[in-house]
């Protein structure tokens, strides 16, 4: 343990309102602490800057998964285990379930939250690509009120995001039947090993063909840019097109130009570029071949 505990202050508010009040009094000084699975690692490694922490783990208002006519709504404290255990998630959002299954081990899945995964803003995080592909929105709350924003575009640079210092992420929602009936959901995490791994590249892609033409396409990729990346240009290049070999080649080239991976201790820029290209090609090939539902990679 390299952290010096007396350098940290921890408060546990009794309600979301109290949490927001506290954050409003000294904006940017109170850092929310949800499951702690990112924060505690930094603390143990001596890399957590001293400061003030606001535990939100005990706030029931931030928990739970509900489905209404238009959306699946998930509290910010929804854990990976919650996602895995929810039948409705598996039916409509298999890529998010897959991300949850492949994040950490059971202990981490019991503690780690979607809100924490989003706000921790690691480009290597595993749920953001799925959330991007599913067209998620997130709710940000402060004493000034609550607002829903598109998750796409939320991350603006490495660990930069469209959240005000006094805002708490409270909920996440995704449209029902994403991609429409008959869509192909393809989630593939390429980690450093089969389990308990951080991603080197992670693709979540959702697509649907109508009459052989691309009617819907959304894809998020992890670990290939300073932010969880949306392949917006690739999507635009494909919408309305017939998926023949030439179109796929062209789209793969667009995707390759969209990613800007780097070398780090986990992998190399070159590897990440090749793999993201291969995964996009593989997804499009499966889509062209008429595959639907959740793709399985063992």
């Amino acid at each position: 343990m390299r952290g010096y505990l007396p350098d940290y202050e921890l408060r546990a508010p009794a309600s979301v309102d109290e949490a927001l009040e506290t954050m409003a009094q000294a904006p940017g000084q109170w850092r929310p602490l949800a499951g702690g699975t990112d924060v505690m690692v930094e603390l143990a490694a001596g890399k957590l800057p001293p400061g003030k922490f606001l535990s939100i783990w005990q706030l029931p208002e931030l928990r739970g998964i509900t489905l209404d006519d238009d959306h699946a709504i998930l509290g910010a404290l929804t854990t990976y285990s919650d996602v895995r255990d929810h039948a409705g998630m598996a039916a409509e959002y298999p890529m998010l379930v897959q991300a949850a299954r492949e994040s950490g081990a059971i202990a981490i899945q019991n503690r780690g939250t979607l809100g924490g995964n989003i706000v921790n803003a690691s480009p290597a995080a595993d749920s953001p690509p799925a959330l991007l592909a599913y067209g998620a929105q997130i709710e940000l709350a402060s004493v000034r009120g609550r607002r829903w924003v598109d998750y796409r575009g939320f991350h603006t640079g490495y660990k930069q995001m469209g959240r005000q210092p006094d805002e708490l992420l409270t909920r996440i929602r995704m449209p029902r039947t994403p991609g429409g009936a008959g869509a192909l959901h393809d989630y593939r995490k390429v980690g450093t090993r089969k389990a308990q791994a951080i991603s080197k590249v992670c693709l979540a892609a959702l697509g649907r063909l109508d009459d052989g033409k691309v009617a819907y396409l959304r894809a998020g990729v992890g670990s290939v840019a300073p932010v969880p990346l949306d392949l917006v240009k690739t999507e635009a290049a494909l919408l309305g097109k017939t998926l023949d070999a030439a179109t796929i080649d062209a789209a793969v080239a667009v995707a390759e130009a969209e990613v800007t991976p780097i070398d780090d201790i986990r992998s190399t820029a070159r590897y990440r570029a090749v793999v993201s290209r291969n995964l996009v090609r593989d997804f499009l090939t499966a889509l062209a071949a008429g595959e639907t539902g959740a793709r399985v990679h063992d």
């Binding site: 343990m1 201790i265 590897y271 090749v274 995964l279």
Partner: protein, 744 residues
């Protein structure tokens, strides 16, 4: 089922304590008045220490501070040589070299203080690769960066090249590897002016620490007491490094007059302690059309890091194993251990052999490829037979039958069918999945190399109590491999008593004789044998006194002990190591009987490669070996499975990322060891012993030798690329696949 204990899978004697959490590790121990110690380490690979500043808002007057100047005796960590200081004095030679020690009653204060000691340096040039060490443009050790240089072999390779039908050369590399025992290193030391130094902790070799601590404190051995606590794994990582942490804790205890505990966290453990030696091997070979080896010229180099530590002996084992279990009349092994500016590399399961065996076994497959022959066939052409001599001139007396070993491995792995099916699949598929199967054949010498066991002159003692219980006294440590259990089995058989009447005494230099270090796969074979003799000595004394008949049972044994104690106050059986008759080793010329026994093995790996991601999955693993007598089949199987998993890690997962001589990935999240999901089913079998009266050969290290080449040979079979180094990471394999694709 055998009628004795040996040969039965009796449960681990300390197993219950470990699984229930009752076992006490060093960090579970709290000693009244204890301080917590921390180590301030160098942040640059090499340079002069200009000044040390103690900064920050900290109670420096309460903090115990020790530097090189505080060492009462010689500031050296005594091992093979004494070049390594306990604390850097004026100069640092690697990153994470200890410079200042701190202690305080509050663990958090000492941790904060550690981060507020600022060292000023005048940097010196450093060396970070084997090539740079050999080039010696910068000299960091001696006159040429070479710690040790050996030449071994037989015949005359140079006479072969001119007429050789075929020649093939290749260069192979292996990376560093972290032992990643579960329990990080730790020690608690106490100092008393009368009793001297007492250290308790996580360790493999209590007497190594005693030897190292005596000169540091100028104390005789009876004033330096070392006690082993329950130890959470070692794999060689707790062979020599514990002398340093023990020395540090003891120095702080000496200076403060209080008990001091130092326990590393994972980051400190991985960055500062030893790793497997990285290596580079060049092989030039000559062979005929059938693959029969005519000459092997091997240039083997290992990176020893900044101090010599155990590198000479790691090098010697690597050198002796370099030509494998093959008959070849002309062999030259030229080997060097070189100095670089990384923390010293050290003991790790296999001890130099996995490195040179990897190179050779990969090379054997390349010869087969070159000739268009089956890799099995090429190996069979060269396997050592009884009566033949190995590359260092050791005659194999055992009736070895390596063909039988290979047959069994191929049968269990379904080699022929799989090789064919995979060839067909790979030739016809348009999909991303490729499949391959590969093998390796190898041997591993048990015990210390050459005259090592003679120099060790190990001793062991078995005492009998008046109640007929037996106390086993040896310095050999239980580090998860089953020492306590196999010792109980061996002694139980020698005394014909149930093993629950045997107590294996905690290794403590105040009570146990020096049975040598717990290394080199020697515990079962060498120390086990000594304990059998010591037990026989007890039996002999009882029989000599007329208390025990020629054949007896447990109750008669107890009665005999009771009778003995009527007119004695102790019953002690002793054994001292005696070298087997007719064994000779010529250290200067590296010829002779290198080891008193070899374990033999053939391993087969089947893999899947996903060409989209270049991920390698080992699907199936067959490990067949001949280990002489198997003392405890489940424990032996566990050793093999664990070793195979660890070696698969070395082969395709465990990449030590170096940045300016420092490990950049020292956490479990970024130093990737295989999990259960990444590890294939490992099918282990022990062949019937070759010898009619088999010994129990060492097995701890054997399984580390064969998996890496078997896996890489399988990857080569699957993909057609020619990987030459481990770890073979997907990044490297992807480059090889891309190059291959471009070439086609």
């Amino acid at each position: 089922m055998p009628d004795g204990w040996v040969g039965r899978s009796v449960p681990r004697r300390e197993g219950r304590d470990k699984v229930t959490g009752a076992a006490k590790y060093v960090d579970d121990l709290h000693v009244e008045g204890m301080l917590h110690g921390a180590t301030v380490r160098s942040t640059i690979p090499r340079g002069k220490i200009v000044a040390i500043h103690y900064e920050g808002d900290l109670p420096w007057d309460e903090i115990v501070v020790a530097t090189a100047a505080d060492v009462p005796g010689a500031n050296e960590v005594k091992l093979i040589q004494t070049d390594q200081p306990l604390l850097a004095d004026g100069v640092v030679n690697h990153v994470e070299e200890p410079i200042v020690l701190l202690a305080h009653a509050d663990r958090e204060v000492v941790e904060k203080a550690r981060r507020h000691v600022r060292i000023e340096y005048a940097p010196l040039p450093s060396v970070h690769s084997i090539d740079d060490a050999l080039a010696a443009d910068t000299v960091v050790w001696g006159t040429d960066n070479v710690f040790t240089h050996y030449t071994a072999g037989q015949g005359n390779v140079d006479a072969v090249w001119a007429d050789a039908p075929h020649e093939l050369s290749g260069e192979y590399t292996t990376g560093a590897q972290e032992q990643m025992y579960i329990e990080a290193q730790g020690m608690i030391a106490e100092y008393d002016p009368d009793a001297g130094v007492t250290v308790r902790g996580s360790l493999q070799c209590p007497y190594y620490i005693q030897t190292a601590l005596c000169p540091l404190f100028g104390l005789p051995p009876d004033k330096v007491r070392i006690v082993q606590m329950a130890t959470g794994g070692g794999f060689g990582g707790k062979e020599e490094y514990p002398s340093i942490i023990a020395g540090h804790a003891a120095l702080l205890a000496y200076k403060s007059g209080k008990p001091v505990k130092i326990v590393y966290d994972r980051i400190e453990d991985v960055t500062a302690t030893t790793k497997r030696h990285p290596s580079r091997t060049k092989i030039r070979s000559a062979f005929d059309d059938t693959g029969k080896l005519l000459a092997l010229d091997i240039d083997f180099v290992i990176d020893g890091g900044a101090y010599i530590t155990l590198s000479p002996v790691v090098l010697s084992r690597g050198t002796i194993h370099a030509a494998g279990p093959y008959r070849c009349d002309n062999v030259r092994v030229d080997s060097r251990a070189v100095a670089t500016s990384s923390p010293p590399h050290g003991a790790f399961r296999g001890f130099g052999a996995p490195q040179s065996i990897f190179a050779l076994e990969r090379h054997m497959d390349r010869i087969a490829d070159y000739l268009g022959l089956d890799p099995v066939q090429v190996r069979r052409r060269n396997l050592l037979q009884q009566g033949q001599t190995s590359s260092v001139g050791q005659t194999i007396d055992e009736p070895v039958d390596l063909d039988k070993l290979v047959d069994r491995a191929l049968a269990d792995a379904d080699w022929v069918a799989k090789r064919k099916a995979f060839d067909e699949h790979n030739a016809s598929t348009t999909g991303p999945i490729r499949k391959g199967i590969g093998l390796s054949v190898f041997y591993h010498g048990s015990g210390f190399t050459g005259a090592g066991e003679v120099h060790l002159a190990s001793k062991a003692v078995v005492e009998a109590t008046a109640e007929g219980r037996l106390r086993v006294l040896a310095a050999s440590t239980e580090i998860g491999q089953g020492t306590n259990t196999i010792f109980s089995q061996i002694v139980g058989d020698a005394a014909h008593v149930p093993i629950d009447r045997i107590d294996v005494v905690q290794p403590d230099t105040a009570h146990v004789p020096n049975s040598g270090p717990t290394v080199a796969s020697r515990t079962c074979m060498v120390v086990g044998n000594l304990l059998a003799q010591a037990t026989a000595d007890v039996v002999g004394q009882l029989q000599g006194a007329g208390h025990l008949p020629a054949t007896w049972d447990a109750e008669q044994f107890t009665a005999a002990c009771r009778a003995w104690y009527a007119d004695h106050d102790a019953l002690v059986g002793r054994a001292n190591y005696q070298p087997p008759a007719g064994v000779h080793w010529d250290e200067k010329n590296f010829r002779g009987d290198a080891y008193s026994a070899y374990a033999w093995a053939c391993y087969v790996a089947a893999v899947t490669v996903d060409t989209r991601t270049a991920e390698i999955r080992v699907d199936d693993f067959v490990a067949i070996q001949e280990i002489g007598k198997t003392v405890n089949p489940i424990l032996a199987g566990g050793q093999i499975e664990g070793g195979v998993a660890q070696a698969i890690g070395w082969a395709v997962y465990e990449d030590v990322v170096w940045k300016d001589g420092r490990v950049a990935n020292p956490q479990m999240t970024n130093y990737i060891i295989p999990t259960a999901v990444d590890t294939p089913p490992i099918r282990v079998a022990f062949l019937e012993p070759f010898a009619p009266q088999p010994v129990a050969k060492g097995i701890g290290e054997l399984p580390m030798d064969g998996p890496a080449p078997a896996v890489l040979n399988a990857v080569a079979h699957a993909t057609g690329v020619d990987p030459r180094g481990v770890p073979l990471m997907p990044e490297t394999l992807m480059d090889l696949l891309t190059t291959q694709e471009t070439a086609q």
